[in-house]
């Protein structure tokens, strides 16, 4: 097949995919008898037109940056980590244990400890599928799916039978002590000029952005990143160049699981301030869409995470103010994954035709 110019490959393909996904989403809204234009207005109104809306949009964005980066790092080693959901739930467990059982003097230290706990637990949950892939050749996709379900069961068990404070009915942990409460954006200097009332978005947003930078530097500015990318492009070539495949699979999946786990400092520590069942609430899966949309580049991931943050908050507003059910955002999520992840060849074929047509016309003119 003919090649597209580089700018078309980087900008045009994802853009056209996205437009196709949203066009079909609009058709779906029309089909259930609603007005897509009105729906878009409600979404923008509810997520971007007030500090309150921004507070939620950025809160979701933070979670999605972590899970998107998690999928991205694994993708570069040509591993498809669908286990972000389970890894994030285990990360939540790590956060809860750190916050509940260690007496922290100040939130900043607690944040550091919780981030380590979250990353450690998330990485541990990714370690077994990674080891099975590296050593026994078990397909990572299937094992991580299985581990999502095992994680869900494990957390239900721990919350109901172990961590639930005596005398409480809800399957949750005790509330975290006040010293571990993270400042939300309205309590941070500069940010409090915009956010005057309490919002869920918190200091974790800055950590998420920093992690995006770290992941970029790791992938494109270190030897390890080079090895990961080389391994992802061609396993046999990497092996020939002396790159140890077991090491690369393990390291990339541990980083991936750690990033997915770190999402929990945003929702468990920053927002709920206790561990609930199903704490990740689908963010692990959205990470797949975010990574695909963001073309596996940290900058793209941050932008895509923001888009999904907008969709998530806007979708909630749709559920509140219109007759369109909140599940519309699951539909959009599916469409974006389908078009940007699975049908990019179709988009590319269409664009190649169009470019060829343009070239033929120019030749005729000349």
């Amino acid at each position: 097949m003919e090649r597209l110019p580089r700018w078309a490959d980087v900008v045009l393909v994802p853009l056209v995919s996205l437009i196709l996904a949203f066009a079909i989403a609009a058709v779906v809204i029309l089909a259930i008898g609603q007005n897509p234009w009105e729906a878009l207005k409600v979404m923008v109104e509810g997520s971007l037109m007030s500090p309150y809306g921004w507070g939620y949009t950025l809160y979701y964005t933070t979670s999605f940056i972590f899970t998107g980066l998690a999928v991205t790092v694994a993708f570069h080693a040509s591993m498809f980590n669908i286990g972000g959901e389970g890894q994030a739930q285990l990360g939540g467990l790590g956060v809860a244990l750190v916050c509940l059982y260690i007496p922290w003097p100040h939130w900043s230290l607690a944040l550091l400890g919780a981030a380590c706990g979250a990353a450690l637990f998330g990485a541990a949950w990714a370690a077994i599928p990674a080891w099975l892939q590296a050593k026994r050749g078990s397909h990572i996709v299937i094992t991580t799916i299985m581990f999502n379900y095992i994680a869900a069961s494990l957390l239900v068990f721990l919350l109901v039978d172990v961590l639930r404070p005596p005398g409480k009915m809800d399957p949750t942990t005790a509330n975290f002590p006040p010293a571990t409460h993270l400042p939300s954006l309205d309590q941070l200097p500069l940010f409090n000029l915009v956010f005057t009332k309490a919002v869920p978005a918190n200091v974790t947003l800055l950590i998420a952005l920093a992690m995006a930078l770290v992941v970029w530097a790791m992938l494109w500015r270190t030897r390890l990143g080079y090895q990961i990318r080389a391994f992802g492009k061609s396993e046999s070539a990497a092996r020939y160049a002396g790159i140890n495949p077991v090491r690369i699979i393990m390291i990339s999946m541990l980083i991936s699981g750690g990033l997915a786990g770190m999402m929990s400092i945003n929702n468990v520590m920053g927002e709920a301030e206790r561990l609930l069942a199903n704490s990740a609430s689908g963010a692990g899966f959205i990470g797949i869409a975010v990574a695909l949309m963001g073309r596996n580049h940290p900058l793209g991931v941050v932008l895509a995470a923001f888009l999904f943050g907008f969709l998530f908050q806007g979708g909630a507003e749709l559920g509140l103010w219109t007759k369109i059910p909140i599940e519309m955002r699951t539909v959009v999520q599916g469409l974006v994954i389908l078009f940007t992840g699975a049908l990019d060849m179709m988009v590319r074929m269409i664009l190649v035709r169009i470019f060829a047509l343009g070239r033929a016309q120019r030749m005729e003119a000349a």
């Binding site: 779906v28 259930i32 008898g33 498809f80 669908i82 077994i128 099975l132 026994r136 050749g137 078990s138 397909h139 996709v141 299937i142 094992t143 799916i145 299985m146 581990f147 379900y149 095992i150 069961s153 494990l154 239900v156 068990f157 109901v160 039978d161 899966f285 797949i288 695909l292 369109i324 059910p325 599940e327 519309m328 955002r329 699951t330 539909v331 959009v332 999520q333 599916g334 469409l335 994954i337 389908l338 992840g341 699975a342 049908l343 990019d344 060849m345 179709m346 074929m349």
Partner: protein
Amino acid sequence: MDYATLLQMLDSTLRLATPLMLACIAGLYSERSGIFDIGLEGKMLAAAMCAGAVAALTGSAWIGLLAGICGSLLFAAVHGITAITFRGNQLISGVALNFLAQGLTVLVAQRLFGQGSRTPPLSGAARFEPIILPFADAAQSVPVIGPFYAEVISGHSMPVYAAFGVVALTWWVLYRTRFGLRLRAVGENPAAVDTAGVSVAGLRFAAVAITGVLCGIAGAYMSTALQAGFGKDMTAGRGYIALAALIFAKWRPIQAMWACLLFGFFQALANRPDVVEAVVRVKVPVPFLTALPYVLTVFVLAGFVGKAIPPRAGGEPYVKER
């Protein structure tokens, strides 16, 4: 545990294993042809909604079943076009279709009935009623075997018996027909099939269509027989358990049946923690029973219980010439 409880458990095992069995065999066709399908869950869910909705509107479970199959086929067609025609990533396509089904079923059910994403409760001819096999009542008096026949074998709805028929038929198709031979070949070495002058794309589309039909029956069974109507996310991960069973059975039909019966038995146990406690004399937390199929599958995948080797060309789009 007395004999009556055991029969009860086996009875509900059959009921719960049926959707797993149908979905598992569905996946078998697709994966044997070299198309990975982690979208079994979504196809079942779409079928459950279509069947529940149409059965409620027409009052006929059979028309509901047909609608369920159509709904599932639609998703199978998208997966087929993505994976075969456009050579897209089959895993990503499956993930995407699962999300689409999860959202669209709620949207459509809410639009049609406005009852908070449920379809109206079904009764009478809109559900598949239990079929009492001949002599079931008369056999009750025969010791041991009689109650087994009456309680466990007899008294299920049509899809339960159909599922076992599908397993037998699949064994015959896979190992005793020309189509079966070609299907197995195209999943291992599509180039050889192509060289023999058989269309790789045609075979794979046929396999994906069969997957759609069987997932359709599985989903329709969920909403018109196992339960009376569709509810949000009612398949609850069964598509993934079926996938696990398929790996557990190493992509073979008879073994798939046993794997699904085993996993169905686990589900039946998870519904009755009191029985489990009475037998093992220790309180077993329900989550352990829920997680058991997944843990077992990981063990099989790890190669501790024999090695599970997938069809060799699985997940790879076939390019005719390079």
